[in-house]
Subunit: 466 residues, 2 copies
């Protein structure tokens, strides 16, 4: 499809190219090594940020995120697969990550490919590698999941995560999803896992080992892990191995079979529930607080993975690093407030690490954003508004006891599925820290994230493949 971005930040381009080459530099020797740390909170909208702040530091407190010097919003753009001239108003993580990774708007479910025409889109990681920069992907999801995948791989459908998905018809609700066009035998690049294993990305850390344990297409003896090793990857599986990386080697860290377990859960695994009535009177659920999630103990934190990635990439002459806090989205889908609070806390810690890194590497641009908005809303913990005390959420509802001793009502009610919530369509926050970030536009489109990052690295962004 043709580029739908109508708002190209020309001022930004010239600014950031300038920042990488001359002008206003106090440490010119380091300007040869520009770095971009793009931190994506999956589903991290203003409701999510406020929920986490209220819970963790109180409504008068401040997150690390709140200290970032620049804030904007990005409008999400999505087009229909069957008619890419038509807009859709709710996105998924595949098309939004593609916007940020490639600068091109596409349709839902697509991984760095164009809507309908299915052309591969060059990603910022590919451009950065081609220009000699180090590259890295860190996530708490499977590394094959939509957000990280869109920075590395090119398939027509996010479900094509591992070799097994390529040879069957996958179902997503009432839709059948066919990966056969990306089958290597059909001229495709293979599954996302296979593409990662064959990639040039220097650091890949997250979950999703199950996709890499499958055998590759056309070879029943060789797993995707084997293929990654053959392509020069040191493959690690344990947190402790993060401190024993072979200098100069590419690293693929797979710490859980699927999405990595989250940091927090409700006490006794409490989550949002539907509200009951007894004799016509609302019976509000009991408030609960959060506790450590036992499954998280053996996991490296997002901070651990970020430290390891920055250590590896610090050896390169500049780098492009994408870090995703994935389960803000996944836990909001599942109506688990402690899950998304703990996940946002992980992101916030990583923002602190990035800021610390940037202190000694002032040529680093830190971008923090979300891919799309989500279901959770802060509502009256008494169930209804001021004038309607005997009403409550028609969806799922939790009363979260905050660290400062308040009770915060959280509502999930985008649909009546017993399984999961949907995304919402609000514009998303964009934070930035780095030289001259105040010259960035206060309003942008999501594709501009690609351009800002590319401009900071001085990458040539010729028109993407159509």
């Amino acid at each position: 499809m043709t580029r739908t971005c109508v708002f190209i930040p020309v001022a930004v381009s010239s600014l950031f190219v300038g920042a990488c080459t001359n002008q206003q530099s106090e440490a010119p020797q380091s300007l040869a090594r520009p770095g971009v740390i793009l931190i994506i909170g999956d589903g991290m909208d203003d409701q999510q940020i406020t929920i986490a702040r209220n819970y963790l530091v109180g409504s008068s407190g401040r997150l690390v995120l709140d200290g970032l010097p620049f804030r904007a919003v990005a409008q999400i753009q999505t087009v229909a697969e069957n008619d890419p001239t038509q807009p859709l108003y709710v996105a998924d993580s595949a098309n939004t990550a593609t916007s940020m990774a490639s600068g091109v708007v596409t349709s839902k479910g697509r991984i760095a490919t164009t809507a309908q025409s299915d052309e591969d889109l060059t990603t910022i990681m590919e451009l950065a590698h081609a220009s000699g920069f180090g590259t890295g992907i860190v996530t708490t999801s499977s590394v094959t999941d939509a957000t990280p995948a869109s920075f590395v791989a090119h398939v027509n459908q996010r479900l094509c995560q591992g070799p097994s998905a390529m040879v069957r018809t996958n179902r997503r609700g009432r839709l059948s999803v066919d990966c056969s066009q990306d089958y290597k035998a059909n001229g495709g690049l293979g599954s996302i896992a296979e593409q990662i294993a064959a990639s040039n990305v220097d650091v890949v850390l997250g979950g999703g080992s199950r996709y890499f344990e499958q055998t590759i297409e056309g070879n029943t003896e060789m797993s995707v892990i084997d293929a990654a090793s053959a392509n020069g990857y040191q493959v690690i599986r344990e947190r402790s191995e993060l401190e024993q990386l072979i200098p100069g080697s590419k690293v693929l860290g797979l710490f859980s079979p699927n999405t990595m377990p989250v940091q927090l859960r409700g006490v006794n695994d409490a989550e949002a529930v539907t509200v009951e009535r007894v004799d016509g009177e609302v019976r509000l659920p009991e408030p609960f607080a959060c506790e450590p999630n036992p499954g998280f103990e053996a996991m490296p934190t997002l901070a651990d993975m970020t430290h390891a990635a920055l250590n590896e990439l610090d050896d390169h002459d500049g780098f492009m690093l994408m870090i995703e806090s994935a389960s803000i989205d996944k836990q909001s889908h599942l109506r688990r407030p402690c899950g998304h609070v703990g996940e946002l806390q992980q992101l916030d810690e990583v923002v602190g690490i990035a800021l610390e890194y940037a202190q000694s590497h002032p040529e680093t641009l830190i971008l923090v954003t979300a891919d799309h908005s989500h279901a959770a809303q802060i509502v009256e913990e008494t169930g209804g508004p001021f004038i309607a005390l005997n009403y409550a959420s028609p969806g799922h509802f939790a009363r979260l006891r905050t660290m400062e001793g308040g009770i915060m009502g959280i509502n999930y009610a985008t649909n009546d599925s017993p399984i999961q919530e949907g995304h919402t369509g609000a514009q998303v926050p964009v934070f930035a820290s780095g030289q001259n970030v105040h010259d960035l536009p206060a309003f942008m489109q999501q594709v501009d994230i690609f351009h800002i990052a590319a401009d900071h690295l001085g990458l040539s962004t010729a028109a993407p493949r159509e």
Copy 2:
């Protein structure tokens, strides 16, 4: 109560005081006349802004608002009336307007008075008038409604709008609201309408004539309108009179009995509805577009009122003007998407007028913000998320046909009241335009709006009355 603001924008203070006095000025003669235009979109959160943008200019379009050079967020703070040390996480328009008008956090329903202790809080309008500035209040609600009232009046409860409310017990859901402590015979200042009539505010424009037609406390012959006239107000009731204002006279314009009619409604008055199922299958409501609301025709637009206010205030040596677009909130409460879209369009037009004014008055600071977040969410127009096609909103749902030909799903599901939605608790956007706005903090608390405005006008903001 004591001031709960822990984040005082010291850098902002020195900056804006500086901007009003010397430094960086190209037109020093005009710096003696600083102006603040504070535009409040009641309930205007990121969902609302995106809904309006998608409908009015398309998902690749830009509102006037989007062109403002600075964007931040403000954290809302609310305390419990029965224990002001305890936070609440969902606010109303009374306590949030009090935060902005006085710089002090209070409890829900309060109009420029402290939580529990019921002390009057000095407002920015009172400070501005005392320093010789012109002052103005423009709103599409009753001028006695919570947002405008908090800038002018001091009562314990927002329902104390007119003299009639003072002598009865008012009900709000299951709560009874007593205005007797603000009765003049009891040492109070009287109803909000009486306090406006007795005030020094130079321009008051909006709805709410019914409160001014009541007779004042203790005098069955004199209406509140009479009292306003006696206090020097030219009282007008028709749009045409806006162009015939007596120069130098204070003006009170009351253009409708209550909230002013909104600009847009759904075609054939369509609004969000509950979703039906037939044989287990979701029956989505028919999409609809918006049409002009017939009741709006005779009304002055928010733009008309803004022009009139700026004309009046331009005669003063600087001014403080608050303009509220009230029905973003009120129409979202009522689950009427066209209503809040049209109201946000009115706000957007006013932002354009403010920017135009500031071009010839560069000492003008424009602030645009919301008081609290609201119920409406953009969701899949097909009812459910990608993987759950036979689900739909458990609340009220509309499918809005946008100007660019898309269909936008809008969900209202904060509670199961058949009457109205509740507010939500997310932080709110803050936009700014003016000299040096890039030095404002990207994260603030709502009380900082007061300090930023006061600093721009060079007002002394000694500790508020406790």
